[in-house]
Symmetry: C2
Subunit: 264 residues, 2 copies
């Protein structure tokens, strides 16, 4: 591997989902060449491979054994099995996964050079994201792996941080609260409005300002609404509007938590 | 009242909190003159009155009886009591409250001309918001009241909608899900990161993209993360990181709800 020009690294990308798509596009945009795209479904591999000017494979046996970097952007539960097979390909390569909650040790005894590149973002195929400002948490098993990861990540993003597997795991939990659970709240807002034929679009300025606010102040300080004011009458009135048992439990629990946190 | 130039309306603003501050500033910026600002605490009334070039009062007896519009931006539970006293002042004036969950009927038998102007946004005193794009839901008790409200709201915002008390109540519940509960999720993300000395700032690109996504697609379609994938291993691992009993209940409940909604 020519360490002076990392962009000459041959990259094999495993995965063709939301993250793999954004990552593949960012790699190519940054000057890397992606040799192969692997997915269990050839069609998915082919779709991404076409865009990246790579070849598509749907069988691990067909993977090149001459790549410098194997990037595994797969579902967490698929990782251990694929790693077992892929790490045999090239003992000199660097093997990298992209998962928040899978420790780096998943590569132990299977590859010398390995590490993790975890982009802290929510991805969708429909609109691949610019990697430029995405925080990338990296971890390398040895100095060489870490250097390679550091240089790849810095070619993709201006927001690169070293993070241990344990830090990354906590970060991933933070991301579930700050993204996945937030998005559930958006869904529940949408369902609430739909029940009376009201337009979700009316909520977008509020959704945007709620996110913008936590750039200016801590989220606890930014809290507004009936729960933080302990406005029981409003809360009881709102509970009466909710039919679904889960949603009622959620409303009560979140209101209680807001009140406790604000008065801690 | 000279109906041809609503900006010559004399306005009395009751309240000096987050909403009253943003609303008062928007009124003055749009050319209205605010005569008086009322708050139970004179200091709060004075602070806002100074900015609005109005006089400050802390006693309802001191309110002018010659205003054209009385705007009540008060806490929900303070409204009925204040309305009782204020509506006696001028039988020709329009009386308006700004609360999501208080029906317009709170004015019944107390004022002929009355209505509601509900700005669907989260306000903070630190940074008064531009009203321009804030959805304003209005409701008027009669044609005159509705016309006055329509014209005031349109002077403040380009996003004005007629909405009944029942629509507004549902909208308010949507806002609690889409803003207050979202903000609790931000707080829990922040607390999670703090527990390991990690910086909340790392989550801001993710928070922004999560909000941006629901401009492009429905929130259910935008859902990502371990719960929608039903990745039990990740979810169990994350539960182990959570000490607090409320947070564990919340994690389980929200994960279940995401999974159910995505597979409905």
């Amino acid at each position: 591997m020519n360490m002076n020009d990392i962009k000459q690294f041959k990259v094999v990308l495993l995965g063709a989902g939301n993250l793999a798509t954004s990552l593949g596009l960012a790699l190519v945009k940054s000057g890397f060449s992606v040799e192969q795209v692997y997915s269990r479904t050839l069609e998915a591999a082919q779709t991404l491979a076409n865009v990246l000017n790579a070849s598509a494979v749907s069988c691990l046996d067909e993977l090149s054994n001459s790549a410098d970097v194997y990037l595994l952007a797969l579902k967490d539960d698929a990782l251990p099995g694929v790693i077992q097979q892929v790490c045999r390909l090239n003992p000199h390569a660097v093997y990298v996964h992209t998962a928040g909650s899978v420790p780096m040790s998943v590569f132990n005894n299977l590859a010398v050079n390995h590490g993790v590149l975890y982009p802290l973002q929510t991805f969708s195929k429909q609109k691949p994201l610019d990697f430029d400002s995405i925080p990338c948490l990296i971890e390398g098993a040895n100095a060489f792996s870490q250097d390679v990861l550091w240089r790849i990540a810095n070619a993709l993003s201006k927001n690169v941080h070293l993070a241990s597997s344990e830090d990354r795991r906590v970060m991933h939990l933070g991301a579930v609260f700050g993204c996945n659970f937030v998005n559930l709240c958006y869904t529940l807002a949408n369902e609430t409005l739909k029940s009376r034929g009201l337009d979700f679009e009316l909520l977008l300025p509020l959704i945007d300002e709620t996110a913008a606010k936590v750039h200016r102040m801590g989220p606890l300080e930014a809290q507004t609404g009936p729960a933080v004011r302990k406005d029981k009458k409003v809360m009881q009135g709102q509970m009466q509007l909710i039919d679904d048992a889960d949603r009622r439990r959620l409303y009560e629990l979140m209101s209680e938590m807001i009140h406790k946190l604000a008065n801690k």
